[in-house]
Amino acid sequence: MTVESTAARTPRRSAGSKAGTAGAKAAGTTGTKRTTRTTAKKGTAAQQGADPELVQLLTPEGERVKNADYDQYVDGVTPEELRGLYRDMVLTRRFDAEATALQRQGELGLWASLLGQEAAQIGSGRALRDDDYVFPTYREHGVAWCRGVDPTNLLGMFRGVNNGGWDPNSNNFQLYTIVIGSQTLHATGYAMGIAKDGADSAVIAYFGDGASSQGDVAESFTFSAVYNAPVVFFCQNNQWAISEPTEKQTRVPLYQRAQGFGFPGVRVDGNDVLACLAVTKWALERARAGEGPTLVEAYTYRMGAHTTSDDPTRYRHDDERAAWEAKDPILRLRRYLETSNHANEGFFAELEAESEALGKRVREAVRAMPDPDHFAIFENAYADGHALVDEERAQFAAYQASFADVEGGH
C-alpha cells in the first residue's frame, strides 16, 4: 500500500548550501518580539484558550483573519493545496478511528489516538521539505502521513509485532519514541550534524506538554541554543499528560520556556491548520537561515483518551471536551473551503469514499500482518554480532528443535 501524498513536496536538498532569506530574518525578529511578555503569575495563561498571543489565521467559524507576521507564509497556498490539507486531516482522522476500532477488536494491543490534533500535525508536517528530518513521539500519525510513511507500518508496534516498523531514513521520519522527551536530544544532535555538513535542511522534534518537564527536553534546548542547531521544537500542548492537566507541568504558558534559553517561542492555535503551517514554515526558515532553534507551542486538545487503555472520565469533565469540539480543526477548514468556494460537494463526496477505502485497506493489512518469526528475538540486538547472542540463539534453536523432534516422533 502506498501513501497518497497530497501537498506538493519540494525536492530533496540535503546537500544544498545554507542561505538565509530576507523573509526568515524579518520573521525571526518578529518571533523574538513575540516572546517578550513575561508572566510570573501562577496558573493563569497556561489554561486560557483565548490567549492574546495565540497565532490564529482561521477562526473556529472558518473565517480567515489577517496576521501581519505570518500571512506571508501561507499567501502562496493554492486552493488545491488547501483541499490537500483538508484531505490529509480527514484521512488521518479516518485512519486513527480505524486503529481505535482495531484495538477494540483485539487486533492491536493498544492505540494512542491523535483525535483533535490533526491540524497541528498536518500543518506542521506539510511545512517540511523532504530533506528535513522528523523526530516524533508516539502520537504523530498525521506527521507520518505527511512524510509518506505507510500508515499500516505505524500499527506494528501497537499490535506487538515489532517496536517500530519502518526505516527511519526512507522518509526521514524517526521511529516513535516512547520514553518521554528522549527524542528531543536526538533531534538536536541530528540538527548539529546538518550544520556540520553545511546543509540547509532542518529538523523538527515533536513532544507533548507533559514532556516539557523532562530534563532531557531542557538539555536539548541548551544544546540547540549553544550550537545554534537548525531544529524546531514542536510542542503539542493537548492540555493533558494522561490524567494531569498542564498546570501540573508549568505555571506559565509553555512557549515562554524558550526565551530563557535564548531562542524564540511562539504559541499557535493548534486546531488551525493554516496557522500551524505558517508558523512552522517561519520556524523552519529560521533554522535554514542559521538562526537556530525555535519553540512552537501548538495549543490544542486531546479529544480522546490518552490511549485505549485510559479512562478519561476518571479525571476530566465532558464539558471541557464539548467546548473544544466547537474548535474542531477539520470542521473549521471545511467551513472556510465552503465559504470561499474552494471545494465543492464532489470533492467532499470523493474524499468520503477515499476515506472508506483507506479504512478498509488498513483493516485488511493489519489482519494480514504476520507474527514475527521466533528467531527475531535474537536479530538486530547487535549490528556486528555478539558471542553470547550467538550462543543463546543456538541453544534456543536446539530447544525449539527438541519439540519438533517430540512432535515428529509422535
Binding site: G109, L110, G156, M157, F158, R159, G160, V161, N162, N163, I178, V179, I180, G210, A211, S213, Q214, G215, D216, A241, I242, S243, E244, K248, Q249, S309, D310, R314, Y315, D371, P372, H374, A376, I377, F378, A381, H386, L388, V389, E392, F396, Y399, S402, F403
Partner: protein, 328 residues
Amino acid sequence: MAETVKNLAMAKAINESLRRALETDPKVLIMGEDVGKLGGVFRVTDGLQKDFGESRVIDTPLAESGIVGTAIGLALRGYRPVVEIQFDGFVFPAYDQIVTQLAKMHARSLGKVKLPVVVRIPYGGGIGAVEHHSESPEALFAHVAGLKVVSPSNASDAYWMMQQAIQSDDPVIYFEPKRRYWDKAEVSTEAIPGPLHKASVVRDGTDLTLAAYGPMVKLCQEVADAAAEEGKSLEVLDLRSVSPLDFDTIQASVEKTRRLVVVHEAPVFFGSGAEIAARITERCFYHLEAPVLRVGGYHAPYPPARLEEEYLPGLDRVLDAVDRALAY
C-alpha cells in the same frame, strides 16, 4: 481495620497497605505521575488522593529524576515518600538520583541522614505491552550498595512487604510484578510478618530447588506440580528479596536437594541468577550434584509482545532446565 482477613488482588493489597501507612503515619506521602485522580495506571493508588488530599498524594510533573530528587528532599525534611515509577522502563531518568544520591547519602553523612524512601516499580512482562513496559531491571539496583531491593509474589506479601518497606529507614526499591496484580489471595491485616528480607519455602521437595521471586514464583509452583506428575519432587523458594539475598535459606535447601535452578524474567547475563549461582556454589561446593542452572531472559532487548512468550521463561523451559540439572 474491622475485617482482618480479605481476599484481595495484589494491586488492591498494595493499595490497602498504602492507605494504612497514610492513616498511621502523617509523614507518609505518595508521589508520582497520575497517582492522584486517576489512581495510577494500574489503580494501585486508587482513591487515596480523594481521601488524603493533594498534599499527601501528589501528582508530579512528568520527570522521574525530579520525582526521586524531590522525594529525597522531602525525606531530609522528615517525610517518608512512597514514589511510583509508572513502568519499569521509565526508571532510568531517575537512575542517577537513585544510585548516586538515594543510595549513598546515608553513608556520605556518616549515618546522620536517613532516607526512608520507597520506590515502587511495576515490572516484568507477560501483559502484551509495548516497548519499555515489560522490563526487569532489578539487577541494576541490586549491584548498588545502599539500596534494598524486594519483590513480592502474592497479595499477602505485597501488603506486608509494603508496610515493612515504608517502615524501613533505608531506601527500598519495591518491584511489583505487574502480571500478578490481578491475582487474588487471602490477606490478613493482622498477621505478624516475618523479616522483609527472608526467603520463604513455598513448597517442600527433595530432588531439586527452584528459586524465584516476584512473577516467577507462581510459574515455579506450576513447574513443581508438573514435575510431581513425573515423580520429581521440587522444592520452591520465594526469595522475596533481591538485595540482600537470603543465601542461608537457599543454602539450607540446596544442602538437602543438591540441585538448584534459578528462574527470573530478567536477562540471565549479569542477572540475579549469576550472583546466586556463584555464591551458592561457593557455599555448597561439595553438596552440588549439578551446576546451578539459570532460566531467564535472553541477551536481547525485551521483544515485541507477540514474541514475549518465547522470550520469557515458561513451564517448558524451566522443566527443561530441571531435566538438565537432574541429568548430572
